[in-house]
């Protein structure tokens, strides 16, 4: 019964999102285009002449693209939750037999679906125009990405709970997410950071996401990243626990 509501709500929310002027373009087209452009720029240098760029191409770029997708969807989640709260949409939905977690889960599932679609497009487009030989498990990589998004969505809910108005939700969310990205080992390895920043890096969820995705992309077996997944699950548990206390429906 409630599953049916979840499916209906997810489907309608997906349609609504794609109807937004920047919905499909912002979340799907732009990451794919950036990926292609960057790939072309770096890809033109002969790989043997520049090992740094070829390693970036082989591992850095796909992981960076995946992290961008994840950050983008969490920020969009934060925005939607705060807009829905401010407009009384959450309240109206809550006045139905829908369970509160169903309402929120539908939003996360929409983000997961769209992220998976974006990743898929990226891979398809990349395969054609851009010669990365992919012998990575794409399924595994996708699962890694979805686990990560699922985990940091809980952080998104926390941000949405604490930011009072919809107008500030997205900027404040960006202020939290983008600096976090720079310390996550995405641009420079965590080991190269000063010790103080390394310590900060170790408590950031994105660090574990980057480590997980990089590992999977390089072909590491899953169990070597068990700790990353454990941390992501723990982050989910902690943020969800706090959110259930501080989340406001109106």
């Amino acid at each position: 019964m409630m599953l049916r509501g979840l499916w209906k709500l997810t489907w309608i929310e997906t349609k609504i999102f794609l109807r937004e002027p920047l919905g499909a373009l912002g979340t799907i087209a732009i990451p794919v285009l950036v990926f292609l452009l960057l790939g072309r720029m770096v890809g033109h240098a002969p790989p043997s002449a520049n090992p740094a760029s070829s390693s970036f191409l082989a591992v850095g770029l796909p992981v960076m693209a995946a992290v961008l997708i994840a950050v983008g969807s969490v920020l969009s989640l934060v925005a939607i939750i705060s807009i829905y709260r401010e407009g009384g949409i959450l309240k109206r939905l809550r006045a139905t037999p829908l369970r509160p977690y169903t309402i929120l889960a539908a939003q996360v599932i929409v983000k997961l679906l769209l992220s998976a679609a974006t990743l898929l497009l990226m891979v398809l487009a990349g395969k054609r125009y851009y010669p990365v030989d992919i012998h990575v498990s794409l399924v595994g990589f996708t699962i890694g990405l979805l686990i990560s998004i699922w985990s940091i969505s809980s952080l998104g809910f926390l941000i949405a709970s604490l930011v009072p108005t919809a107008r500030f939700a997205q900027p404040i969310g960006s202020l939290i997410m983008y600096p976090m990205m720079s310390l996550s080992g995405l641009f420079f390895p965590v080991a190269a950071l000063p010790p103080a920043l390394q310590a900060v890096s170790r408590v950031l969820p994105l660090t574990y996401m980057v480590s997980l995705l990089e590992g999977i992309w390089k072909g590491d077996p899953w169990w070597t990243h068990g700790s990353d997944i454990a941390v992501l699950v723990a982050i989910f548990a902690v943020c969800t626990a706090i959110s259930t206390k501080v989340f406001r429906w109106e």
Partner: protein, 304 residues
């Protein structure tokens, strides 16, 4: 018969603001019950506590035999709710909203028929953001009725509606009662309360001042009657003074206003006119209505 709603000693504060302060009342099965009161009186808060959407600080509530806060999901299956301030997703289409809502309940009314009754059939493919205010309101009423509820809550049901839509919705609400269902509504239109409600509770500063049928409230609080007549007869005013139940007489040019009390007041004025052979060119009676009661009980100045 068990009342549809039983509220006793309900209190609710937001921080320092006491919104509802010891409210008790009952709504019988099958009646249309109205809650009226100035802005900020606590109507919405009372309603939301009964709907299970807010937890009361004090007091007990029973709705359809359920505790609204503890059995909220079971209750929500059986009630319909129209909130005073609500929005839907900007780009949800009318039919999608109806379809979604219908899928959430075990029991369902025919969505298409509701849209038709509420004059929204033509708008079924329109995005919510492109509906007019009144059309949004009608959509919310459709959503409140989608599960064919036993008890419907309508918070300011006709705010922003044109006269046609208002009459349609009044008919719809009466139709709900005819099918044995109960309606709990709030309104700022005294005409609406008078025409629609079997009983009305007047709420002020979180307390109920009085409850009763609109007629009985008028009788109790505004027993005075007024007759306005126009005559050139100079002796008229003198003659009216002999009528016992006349309290005041005001003459303005040829217009005379008589205020009095009692059920026989108008009859006695007419009798006096015919006995004295006074010719009048106009004769009007003004009977007090719920609006007069409301203003009398809750004052005339604006609330914050």
């Amino acid at each position: 018969m068990r009342p549809a709603i039983q509220v006793s000693g309900l209190s609710k504060s937001y921080g320092d603001t006491v919104a509802v302060n010891g409210v008790s009342f009952e709504v019988s099965d099958g009646e249309i019950f109205g809650l009226i009161g100035p802005n900020g009186a606590g109507k919405t808060t009372t309603m939301e506590c009964i709907e299970g959407m807010r937890r009361p600080d004090k007091g007990t509530i029973s709705v359809l035999g359920l505790d609204p806060f503890r059995n909220v999901y079971e209750l929500q299956e059986r009630i319909g709710v129209q909130l005073q301030q609500a929005q839907l997703q900007k780009r949800i289409k009318v039919w999608e909203a109806v379809d979604l809502w219908a899928s959430l309940y075990r029991k369902k009314a025919v969505g298409e028929r509701l849209l038709e009754q509420l004059g929204l059939s033509e708008k079924r493919n329109t995005w919510f953001m492109n509906l007019s205010g009144g059309q949004k309101q009608r959509l919310f009423i459709a959503l409140a009725l989608i599960n064919d509820p036993e008890l419907v809550f309508l918070d300011e049901l006709t705010t922003g509606l044109d006269p046609q839509a208002r009459h349609t919705i009044w008919d719809l609400v009466r139709g709900i009662r005819e099918r044995g269902k109960t309606v709990f509504l709030t309104t700022h239109l005294m005409e609406e309360a008078e025409r629609l409600c079997d009983r009305v509770a007047i709420l002020e500063h979180g307390r109920i001042i009085d409850i009763g049928s609109p007629e009985s409230l008028v009788k109790r609080h505004c027993p005075e009657r007024t007759v306005v007549l126009v005559t050139t007869d100079a002796t008229a005013a003198e003659r009216f003074r002999t009528i016992v139940c006349v309290d005041t007489i005001t003459c303005l040019d040829t217009e005379i206003t008589l205020r009095g009390h009692g059920d026989d007041f108008v009859t006695e004025v007419i009798q006096c006119l015919s006995e004295s052979g006074i010719r009048v060119t106009d004769f009007r009676t003004i009977l007090p209505n719920l609006e007069d009661v409301f203003l009398k009980l809750t004052g005339r100045s604006i609330r914050d």
